[in-house]
Amino acid sequence: MAAAALCWALRAARQVLPSPCPRQVRSYYVDWRMLRDVKRRKMAYEHADERLRINAIRKNSILPKELQEVADKEIAALPRDSCPTRIRNRCVLTSRPRGVKRRWRLSRIVFRHFADHAQMSGVQRSMW
C-alpha cells in the first residue's frame, strides 16, 4: 500500500521535475565563439523549413520570375543566423575551428590524445 503510493508519487515527481542524474552536466561552453555557434545552430533548426520552401520557389524554372524575386527578398529578410552556412563544425572539447574530424567532432590534437591513451573505441595506430 505504502509502496504503491510511493511509486505513484515518484512518477508524479518525475513528470514535474527532472530526475537527478549523477553524472557531469556541462554548464559552460568552452568559449564565446562556441556559444555563438550553438545559437546559430538553434536558429538554423528553427528556420530550416521556411528556408527550404522559399528556396524551392526560388530555384525554379516553372514559376514566374517576379515571384522568384519576391522570394529572394523574403529569404534575405530572415535573420542572418538562421542560415546553415554560418555554422562551423568546431571541436567539441576545445572549440578549435580547424582540423576537426567530423566523425568524432574532435580536433586532431584531442583525437590524438585520446587515441594514444586507448580511449577511442576501435582506433588504432596504423602501420603497414
Binding site: A4, A5, L6, W8, A9, L10, A12, A13, V16, L17, S19, P20, C21, D49, R53, A56, I57, N60, I62, L63, P64, E66, L67, V70
Partner: protein, 344 residues
C-alpha cells in the same frame, strides 16, 4: 455390559438424530461390530452438523431429545472429549432451556454428573458455533465437494497399451529402439491429455458454488485513494527514497540496465521505428492530390505543386502530418501573393 448398553443406546440415538420421527426401524438394520456402531455415530454426527439449521427450528422437547442423544453418544467415547473441557471457558451464553435440559439429563444418568454436564454444554456450544458459521456460509460442505468429483476410469485397452508401452522396448537387429513403442506412449499421453481437458471443460462451470475461495477485491480501494495533486513533502520523500535505494551498479550489466532506463543506451534488438509513431497507411503518404484542392487547376503554380507532391510522396522520412503542413504552407504563401500573381 454397561458399554454394550450404551452402544445400544447410541444406535437408538443415531436413528433418532437422522429421523426424529421413525426411530425403531434402523435399530434392527444396524447390526454388526461395535466399531461399525462407532463409525455410524461419527457419520451421523457429521450429518447432524449439516442439518443443524433445520433442527434449530424445532421446539424445546426436541432439543431435549438431542441433548439426550448427544450425551449418550458422549458416553460411548468417554475418553475422547477430554480436550473439550477447554471450550467451556468460551463466553457465549447458551439457551437456558438447553442448559436445564442438560442438567436434567445429567442427573438422570449414573455417571459423574458435573463432567457430563460440562461436556454436554461444550458440545452444544460447538454445534451452535458451527451453525452460525454455516448461516454465514463459511464452512465447506464436504459432501458438495465430493459429489462433483468423478472417478476417472481407465479403459482396459488403454491400460493394456500403457503396460505394453512400458514393457515393449524392443530392440532391432541393430540394437536401436523401435519407433512404435515411443509413438504408442505418446499417443497414450495425448489420450490422457484429451481426457483431462474433456473433464475440465465439462466440470468447470457446472455445479453448485462451493464458496471455498473468497473474492479478492482490492481494486475499489485503490481507485478511491487517488489524491488530486501530490504535496511537496510527498515529492521530497519520494526523491529521498529513490536516492537512497538507487545503489551504484555492481557490474557492467547493471550499468547498462541503468543507462537503458535513462535513455542513453538503445534497446536491443534495435527497433528502427522507435519514437516514430506513424499510424498512417501508405496511401496517405503517396496519394496527396486531395490536398491540392485549394490551388488553381491550371497554370505554373499547379505544375509546381504537382512536382512538390511527387517529391513528397517519395520521401520516407517525413510523417503525413509534416507533408500536409508543407503543402498548406505553400497554399498560404500563394494566397498572400495573389495580388502580385494577378498583375502577371
Amino acid at each position: 455390559t454397561s458399554s454394550v448398553l450404551s452402544k445400544d443406546k447410541d444406535t437408538s440415538a443415531a436413528s433418532k438424530e437422522s429421523t426424529p420421527e421413525g426411530a425403531a426401524k434402523r435399530q434392527e438394520e444396524r447390526a454388526g461390530t461395535p466399531k461399525q456402531h462407532l463409525l455410524d455415530i461419527i457419520g451421523n454426527m457429521k450429518v447432524e452438523v449439516s442439518y443443524r439449521k433445520k433442527l434449530q427450528q424445532l421446539k424445546a422437547s426436541e432439543s431435549k431429545k438431542q441433548a439426550m442423544n448427544e450425551l449418550e453418544g458422549l458416553d460411548s467415547e468417554g475418553s475422547v472429549p477430554q480436550g473439550i473441557t477447554e471450550d467451556t471457558q468460551r463466553g457465549k451464553p447458551l439457551n437456558p432451556e438447553l442448559v436445564k435440559a442438560a442438567s436434567a439429563v445429567a442427573s438422570s444418568l449414573p455417571h459423574n454428573k458435573k463432567q457430563t454436564v460440562s461436556d454436554l454444554l461444550a458440545q452444544l456450544r460447538r454445534h451452535e458455533e458451527t451453525t452460525d458459521k454455516q448461516k454465514k456460509g463459511g464452512t465447506v460442505n464436504i459432501r458438495n465437494v465430493i459429489s462433483e468429483m468423478t472417478v476417472k476410469r481407465q479403459s482396459p485397452a488403454q491400460r493394456g497399451a500403457r503396460i505394453s508401452g512400458r514393457i515393449s522396448l524392443q530392440l532391432d537387429e541393430d540394437g536401436r529402439r523401435t519407433r512404435p513403442a515411443r509413438s504408442s506412449a505418446q499417443s497414450v499421453l495425448r489420450n490422457t491429455k484429451y481426457r483431462f481437458s474433456f473433464l475440465v471443460y465439462r466440470s468447470l462451470k457446472v455445479g453448485k458454488r462451493l464458496n471455498i475461495f473468497t473474492k479478492a477485491s482490492t481494486e475499489p480501494e485503490h481507485a478511491l485513494k487517488t489524491v488530486s495533486s501530490p504535496t511537496i513533502w510527498d515529492l521530497e520523500f519520494a526523491k529521498e527514497v529513490a536516492a537512497v535505494t538507487a545503489q551504484p551498479p555492481r557490474n557492467g550489466f547493471e550499468e547498462m540496465i541503468q543507462w537503458t532506463k535513462e535513455g542513453i543506451l538503445w534497446e536491443f534488438p534495435i527497433d528502427n521505428e522507435v519514437g516514430m509513431e506513424d499510424d498512417a497507411e501508405f496511401h496517405e503518404h503517396i496519394f496527396l492530390e486531395k490536398h491540392l484542392e485549394g490551388f488553381p487547376k491550371e497554370g505554373p503554380i499547379r505544375h509546381f505543386m504537382e512536382l512538390v507532391i511527387c517529391g513528397l510522396s517519395k520521401n520516407p522520412y517525413l510523417s503525413v502530418k509534416q507533408k500536409v503542413e508543407h503543402i498548406e504552407w505553400f497554399q498560404k504563401y500563394f494566397e498572400e501573393k495573389k495580388e502580385l500573381l494577378q498583375e502577371i
